[in-house]
């Protein structure tokens, strides 16, 4: 269930990347940061949080066991 939730959130973020609503907006947030750039900076932070959730709740621990069963160095 957790894995499905992570991938649904991933698709949502994939779609939210296309911020057409700020396309021609030159407003400066805090007086210096163009709003389109501020949005995408926030997007990067949100991506970090999404992957934090993935690592916490959807980690493929079975792969580690499988890798260790091999005899290669």
């Amino acid at each position: 269930m957790a894995r499905y939730t992570i991938w649904i959130l991933f698709v949502a973020m994939f779609l939210l990347h296309h911020d057409f609503w700020y396309w021609d907006d030159t407003t400066l947030v805090l007086g210096f940061l163009p709003i389109g750039l501020a949005y995408h900076a926030g997007f990067s932070i949100a991506a970090g949080l999404l992957w934090l959730a993935a690592v916490k709740w959807a980690w493929p621990s079975e792969l580690e066991r499988w890798a260790d069963e091999g005899d290669a160095s």
């Binding site: 990347h17 021609d24 007086g31 210096f32 750039l37 493929p60 890798a67």
Partner: protein, 530 residues
């Protein structure tokens, strides 16, 4: 005044030299810890933990493209560059590390692989696939190397401008002195020195040297990038004043948004470019160095944040450069160096910032040189002569020999191509090629029905479509005015969209009409569900 400037820039040069010397020392220290085995030289005995993994992978993916190229592109195209590359990469890179990287690490550890060709050859039970992939991967890594080498040469010249006015004069086409470059270390020397330094620590320290150097270099370029951002914004009168200068000029105000500079389809289809990390041979090699799957965790989470920390200041400096210089700088690749040189009047700090730019570039070059040496040793020499034909010591020397050859070829190519090459565009073409091979790696790890014929056809179609579009773009570029910045778009989309669609479609269709892989092969590569 000129003497003062020259003295200041000589100090900058001295700081850069000290930093490069430190890297040489690091190379010597890592060589002392070298265990003498091929596994230690090529994959650090699979012993890298979370922190070194994060720093080395991040340092490897951030290159001259990220610092020099992004600043230049933001100067000419505005803030949209961040959305095109940085925020897409934050989402997609980590997805690839999570979905592909961990799986390839597990397969590599279980079966003892050191290169991509070894894996694909056995996964699809096809020696021919290995022979086809090898030249394609090497052929795509070389332009990526050139992005770094050319970027290094172009960054050093403006930062050291004024140091040697008699020895290295620089003139504009009309014969007058070019103040931004006059007296700076020319690219042929800058590129050569960088190649030699990287060669030194990779040659003696192997991938351990590269991982350590990447860690140091990543710390250096993140910190110096933030210092550059602070210093440049302060010199421009503060954050608000710097941005206001861009907004107030009619010819530069549009750079604060995307309208007229970046198309919607272009913006969306850039999402395919970051898939390239799934097929970078140098990243594959770094994944194999992990001590355990847990070593990936920090990388998956922090990578998007680190991208933001590096790219945001670069994009801001790029658009501020438009406000500061106007739209007059003929070579956008030199914008970062010019901003540092003209605005940061503290010589040692300018030198440190220059070292930071070079750090970002070298932290990718080392892994690329290393992976090509590994591929040549494993996929060509050992493949032809047999695993037992050479001792570990001989394998290491074969790898070193090929690294030396590739460094020489890259340097000569960079000398020929440095003029008129837009770093960002060359990087995008290279990434497009790797991204178009992504369906292959995705199918290899997740689709049991993918077949040998499907894989070979997909690689062949990718190579053919990429070559046709790349050559078309190069021919079209020759008719453009110098400094004109147009990317090739097909139906307003990035060419990678067409190449990746052709690659995926071929893989799926041919796989479905050909014989599936044997159960023994599938059992070897797909963990049983428990």
């Amino acid at each position: 005044m000129n003497m003062l400037l020259a003295a200041g820039n000589t100090t900058s040069l001295a700081v850069i030299c000290v930093y490069l010397f430190l890297l040489l020392v690091l190379g010597v220290v890592s060589a002392r810890l070298f265990k003498g085995t091929a596994a230690d030289y090529f994959v650090v005995s699979r012993s890298v933990g979370s922190f070194l993994m994060l720093m080395s992978i991040f340092g490897t993916t951030m290159t001259g493209f990220a610092l020099v190229g992004s600043t230049g592109k933001a100067y000419s195209t505005g803030i949209g560059v961040y959305g095109l590359m940085a925020s897409w990469s934050g989402l997609i890179h980590s997805a690839v590390f999570f979905l592909i990287g961990i799986r390839l690490w597990a397969i590599g550890k279980r079966h003892g692989y050191l290169t991509q060709c070894e894996y694909f050859r056995e996964r699809f039970d096809s020696p021919m696939l290995g022979y086809i992939l090898f030249p394609i991967l090497v052929g795509l890594v070389i332009p990526y190397l050139l992005v770094g080498v050319i970027g290094a040469g172009k960054a050093v010249q403006p930062i050291t401008a004024g140091s040697f006015p008699d020895l290295f004069p620089a003139y504009k086409p009309d014969g007058s002195i070019n103040p931004g470059l006059h007296g700076g270390i020319p690219p042929w020397i800058g590129m050569g020195v960088i190649c030699l330094i990287v060669l030194f620590y990779v040659f003696f320290g192997g991938l351990r040297g590269a991982v350590w150097a990447n860690t140091l270099q990543t710390i250096v370029f993140i910190i110096t990038g933030l210092i550059a951002f602070y210093m440049i914004s302060t010199r421009l009168g503060g954050l608000a004043e710097a941005s206001k200068a861009v907004a107030e000029k009619p010819e530069t105000a549009s750079r604060l948004a995307r309208e007229g500079l970046v198309g919607h389809a272009q913006f969306f289809t850039y999402c395919f470019i970051p898939l390239s990390v799934g097929m970078f041979p140098h990243l594959f090699q770094h994944w194999l160095t992990a001590k355990s799957a847990k070593s990936f965790r920090l990388t998956v989470v922090v990578h998007p944040i680190f991208i933001a920390i590096v790219w945001l200041p670069c994009i801001m400096i790029g658009i501020w450069a438009a406000g500061h210089f106007g739209a007059t700088v003929p070579d956008a690749n030199t914008v970062l160096g010019r901003m540092v040189n003209t605005l940061v009047h503290v010589p040692w700090l300018s030198g440190l910032l220059g070292a930071g730019i070079l750090a970002a570039i070298m932290s990718s070059l080392d892994s690329q040189f290393m992976c090509i040496g590994t591929m040549f040793t494993r996929d060509v020499v050992i493949r032809f002569f047999g695993e037992d034909r050479f001792s570990d010591k001989q394998k290491i020397w074969i790898g070193r020999g090929f690294i030396l050859l590739i460094v020489l070829i890259s340097y000569l190519l960079a000398l020929v191509l440095q003029k008129g090459t837009h770093i960002f565009d060359l990087g995008v073409w290279c990434f497009s090629g790797f991204a178009a091979l992504f369906p292959l790696v995705f199918a290899a790890v997740y689709w049991k029905r993918a077949t040998r014929a499907g894989a070979i056809s997909s690689v062949a179609v990718t190579a053919a479509v990429w070559t046709v579009l790349f050559v078309n773009d190069m021919i079209a570029k020759q008719s453009r005015q110098p400094g004109q910045d147009d990317e090739l778009l097909i139906l307003n989309m990035m060419p990678v969209t067409i190449i990746i669609a052709a690659s995926a479609l071929t893989l799926v269709v041919v796989s479905l009409v050909t014989q599936p892989p044997s159960t023994q092969t599938l059992a070897k590569f797909f963990p049983e569900k428990r």
